[in-house]
């Protein structure tokens, strides 16, 4: 370990303010002194400065993050404009976020791709070709609740780009060829090629009732998207694409008042027509259940334990995510170090999927059917450990570091800042949420994690979804008293398990 032991001990001594060093245990002998020709600078004995490297500087206290000054405006037509000036480089990010009143993944998911391929009112070229002429970098994406068009451009074409965006939002037309191209791009962008993809799809079908947007994959099912017709998309768009669902985020080399004035003028004639569509969603039906989908030919089963947490305060959700993260680290260590074949879990993925109405905390693995019970038991055991507050200082420190790292980059650069603001604005959250979460992370205590885990990480809150030999899975998972076992219908032709 070379001089690491010295360094670690030095740090410990500094931390503990101990005057006299404790006896030092060196795990392995120090290496032989290097041969003379290996020395770049004089050896420590000959160079008093070299001793500096044996005592690294200790990190300073973490500084709470400060949110930048953000201009947040709601126009009379209901549209929201969020502007963050960053004047050091001539770059602007313009993000258009559409938060659909009535989200229907197969219909709203494709809209951003389609808008890019449609011809804005009064123009001769489609939006993406117009953007191309202006040197704009652009992309489209969708989630379960929103569609986003993201652009990066040089500030000298901002006015032209905004004009194009509003001519498109207010009214644009698309050809059958444009729909085919948008469909192809949308299917490519939303394909989930991960090992957990097939299970996630069945999980959504099983957990959420038909009619709820989360019942479908976030871009709609491929089969439905392939069948989409122009008329259906146009009707959805005419009814749903209204100013009050639009959030425009502009970050970069801009003056906020000028952006607001310009956008006010561009959208002056765009008014909502009639009452807004109902936002009522089917009630979430998340009964305690073990859902099995029979895939007899699968060589391994895919198993997910899901803890849904609905509509909680952001700090509570943060605590849940930190506890879930600590569990994940511990479970990864278990499978990595274990010589027990029952713990050789493949493609393990343990994470949290945030949604507008609910967050899903998921532990996923691919494994032999007989290992499903040991895996579930290990996850439940970790949940129990969290609830008891048996969290080490090191685990707490590591999760703090991981979560502060995650949010500290939220305002790093124009492009990232626009994504951050778009995400929080679209969900109606505070725009300084990264700073709030940063501070909350630094202040998070073991008791906070334990309290949240006691509330949510309980066996009765766990939903299980498994794909594989359902007879075998039923036997193995049935022993754990995780709720009534229910078999999902066989996947229709074309659906992949």
């Amino acid at each position: 370990m070379r001089r690491l032991v010295q360094i670690a001990c030095t740090a410990w001594l500094l931390g503990a303010c101990v005057r006299e060093p404790s006896p030092i245990v060196v795990a392995s002998p120090a290496p032989e002194p290097p041969a003379p020709e290996t020395i770049v600078t004089p050896a420590p004995e000959e160079n008093p400065d070299a001793v500096l490297w044996y005592a690294p500087p200790v990190p300073a206290a973490r500084v709470p993050m400060t949110a930048p000054a953000i201009e947040d405006t709601r126009l009379a037509n209901g549209m929201r404009i969020v502007v963050l000036p960053r004047r050091d480089i001539p770059l602007v990010a313009v993000h258009v976020i559409l938060r659909w009143h009535t989200a229907v993944p197969r219909l709203h998911g494709i809209q951003a791709s389609l808008l890019l391929r449609s011809t804005p009112a009064g123009r001769s070229r489609v939006l993406r070709e117009e953007f191309f002429e202006l040197g704009v970098h652009f992309g489209a994406s969708s989630s379960h609740d929103t569609s986003v068009i993201a652009c990066g451009l040089t500030s000298q074409v901002l006015d032209e780009a905004l004009g194009l965006v509003f001519d498109t939002l207010k009214g644009s037309t698309f050809t059958p060829e444009a729909l085919d191209a948008a469909r192809e791009e949308h299917l490519r962008n939303t394909a989930d090629g991960t090992p957990r993809g097939p299970l996630m799809r069945r999980l959504q079908e099983g957990l959420f009732p038909a009619g709820h947007p989360y019942h479908e994959p976030h871009g709609g099912s491929p089969e439905d998207v392939k069948k989409l017709e122009a008329g259906e998309l146009q009707r959805y768009r005419d009814a749903q694409l209204r100013p009050e669902i639009v959030t425009l985020v502009v970050v970069g080399d801009v003056t906020p008042s000028k952006v607001v004035a310009s956008v006010s003028q561009l959208s002056a004639t765009w008014k909502p027509t009639g009452p807004a569509p109902s936002t009522k969603r089917a009630a979430l039906q998340l009964a305690r259940v073990v859902l099995l989908a029979d895939v007899p030919e699968a060589d391994r089963a895919s198993v997910a334990l899901v803890v849904p947490i609905a509509s909680v305060e952001p700090r509570e959700e943060l605590a849940a995510r930190m506890a879930w993260w600590i569990m994940a680290e511990a479970l990864f260590k278990q499978t990595k170090r274990s010589e027990d074949p029952g713990k050789h879990w493949k493609d393990m993925w343990i994470g949290s999927l945030p949604r507008r109405d609910i967050n899903l905390h998921i532990a996923f693995a691919r494994l032999p059917a007989e290992s499903a019970a040991p895996f579930a038991t290990a996850v439940l055991g970790e949940m129990d450990r969290m609830a008891k507050g048996e969290i080490t200082d090191e685990e707490l420190g590591q999760s703090r570091r991981a979560f502060t790292d995650h949010v500290e980059g939220a305002f790093d650069g124009v492009k990232e800042s626009a994504f951050t603001l778009g995400e929080f604005a679209a969900f109606g959250d505070r725009l300084d949420m990264p700073a709030v979460l940063h501070r909350a992370t630094l202040e998070m205590r073991r008791e906070d994690l334990a309290r949240v885990a006691t509330t949510y990480f309980q066996k009765q809150h766990v939903r299980v979804v498994a794909l594989g030999n359902s007879a075998a899975l039923k036997v193995h998972l049935g022993k754990l008293d995780l709720g009534p076992v229910s078999e999902l219908p066989t996947a229709p032709a074309g659906k992949t398990n």
Partner: protein
């Protein structure tokens, strides 16, 4: 072992001193709830100075995110590889990545971070023809520790240049060369670059032809090389982000200032290849599609014509696509690019040929398109589009702290001016049709270039190989 008690005894007061400095550097924690209306701290200008041992230091304070980037650049690349030892710079890059010093091995970093309560970080290390760099983003509170670690890497990185380590690195590099031979057309690009430069030019060697030379590199060679070229006198240190420059300077002086400087580097001057006429190269590759490629040597990075040739490449790529792919359907994929480097650059245009068509036919049509640009120049809308695309890309290349550090370092190393952004983007902003046309005429003449025609051959490597002409 004998050093342990001595190191501890001396380290404690030293570390306490550093602790006081570092603790004082960030702003005191703000207990008030963060406000949306909090004033935004903007980026300040670049503070530049040189330590007595020759290392150039650039400090770029930017307090908008609580992070910092440490970028260490060595003015060394594969162009400097000794004769018969191609791959030396790559090997040293890998050795630096191992962080194998007498004070710390990379495998011990996690334990160190844990012991000190720092947030783990990953260092990106990379080398090219002209430059080797390490770049690390850390929490602002950990910057002093990162400075310590990078000074250790620079001062004592040669400690790991011992037999088994060097042998392993040589094997890794040879394995990668073998893997690269499986990448379609890979050798075509390296052969073109080397052929354009010419045999006597520092860029005139290729990974395909010269890969085996790495086997002759010994630990002694590596140590001598690092002593000669990887010291402070040939390096830059750039810190960007949320720190107080006045408080960081003593820390930099303590760790980097204590290192021996090494020999002063010779000034770098552009070296333009000397050959004239047209060279033709026939290659074969185990691929589906023939390929035609033409290349010219062109002025170095940041030369006024370098920016104009970026514009020519944008326009040419678009016209090639329109003519060869859409109209004539002679190609399925086309491209054009100015490959910019410090000593000299090269410009390429290429076409992957459509089924039933030949590489010669594609070359003929590519020549027609470029001749049109040389003869009549560009339309105003083409010039504007090229300008706007390049302005956007240049600005995006400086977005985020880490990218800005990299861009600033590149400006400084190649122009001596870290604030070169305005000049650089100004060159794109000033594009005119006449300037673009004359840059094409001046730099891309029909009669002074390298042409490569690649034909499919199932018995050749996928990467391709040069076909030796029969006498």
């Amino acid at each position: 072992m004998a050093l342990v008690p001595r190191a501890l005894a001396t380290a404690l007061p030293t570390a306490l001193g550093a602790l006081a400095l570092v603790h004082a550097s960030p702003a005191a924690p703000d207990q008030k709830a963060p406000s949306v209306a909090a004033p935004q701290r903007g980026a300040s200008s670049i503070d530049r100075y040189t330590l007595p041992n020759g290392i150039d230091v650039l400090l770029l304070e930017d307090h908008r995110v609580p992070q910092a980037v440490i970028h260490v650049g060595y003015r060394v690349g594969s162009r400097d590889d000794p004769k018969g030892q191609y791959g030396m710079a790559t090997l040293i890059e890998r050795l630096l990545a191992k962080l194998a010093t007498r004070h710390l091995w990379s495998v011990e970093k996690d334990a160190l971070w844990r012991a000190l309560g720092a947030r783990p970080w990953t260092t990106g290390i990379d080398s090219g023809l002209d430059y080797t760099r390490t770049s690390t983003t850390v929490a602002a509170s950990d910057l002093a520790l990162a400075v310590w670690m990078e000074s250790d890497r620079m001062g004592f990185g040669a400690d790991g240049a011992e037999g088994p380590e060097i042998e392993q690195l040589r094997e890794d590099i040879l394995d990668e060369a073998r893997e690269a031979a499986g990448e379609p057309y890979a050798a075509v690009w390296s052969e073109v670059g080397a052929s354009v430069a010419g045999a006597t030019h520092p860029y005139g060697r290729t990974g395909t032809r010269n890969a085996s030379e790495i086997a002759s590199v010994t630990p002694r060679d590596v140590r001598a090389r690092m002593r000669a070229l990887y010291g402070p006198a040939n390096s830059i240190l750039l810190l960007a982000g949320d720190f107080d420059g006045a408080k960081m300077k003593p820390i930099i002086a303590t760790y980097f200032g204590a290192l021996g400087g090494g020999p002063k580097p010779k000034p770098v001057t552009p070296i333009m290849p000397a050959w004239t006429g047209e060279q033709r190269l026939r290659m074969e590759a185990n691929v589906d599609k023939p390929m035609a490629l033409a290349a010219w040597f062109t002025p170095p990075l940041y030369h006024p014509d370098d920016a104009l040739l970026d514009g020519v490449a944008r326009m040419l790529a678009m016209r090639l696509h329109h003519r060869l792919v859409k109209e004539l359907k002679v190609a399925v994929d086309v491209g054009a690019r100015q490959h910019s480097n410090q000593l000299s650059s090269f410009f390429t245009m290429h076409a992957k040929v459509a089924p039933g068509r030949s590489a010669g036919e594609a070359l003929h049509h590519m020549d027609e398109v470029i001749e049109q640009i040389r003869a009549t120049g560009a339309l105003p809308q083409d010039v504007r589009r090229a300008k706007l695309v390049l302005l956007t890309e240049t600005a995006l290349a400086g977005d985020t702290l880490e990218r800005r550090a990299l861009q600033t370092a590149s400006f400084f190393v190649h122009t001596g001016n870290p604030d070169y952004f305005s000049t650089y983007s100004g060159a794109y902003d000033a594009f005119t049709a006449a300037a673009i046309r004359s840059a094409a005429v001046r730099n891309l003449p029909a009669g002074r270039r390298v042409v490569v025609l690649v034909e499919p051959n199932a018995s050749a490597p996928k990467a391709g190989q040069v076909v030796k002409e029969k006498p």
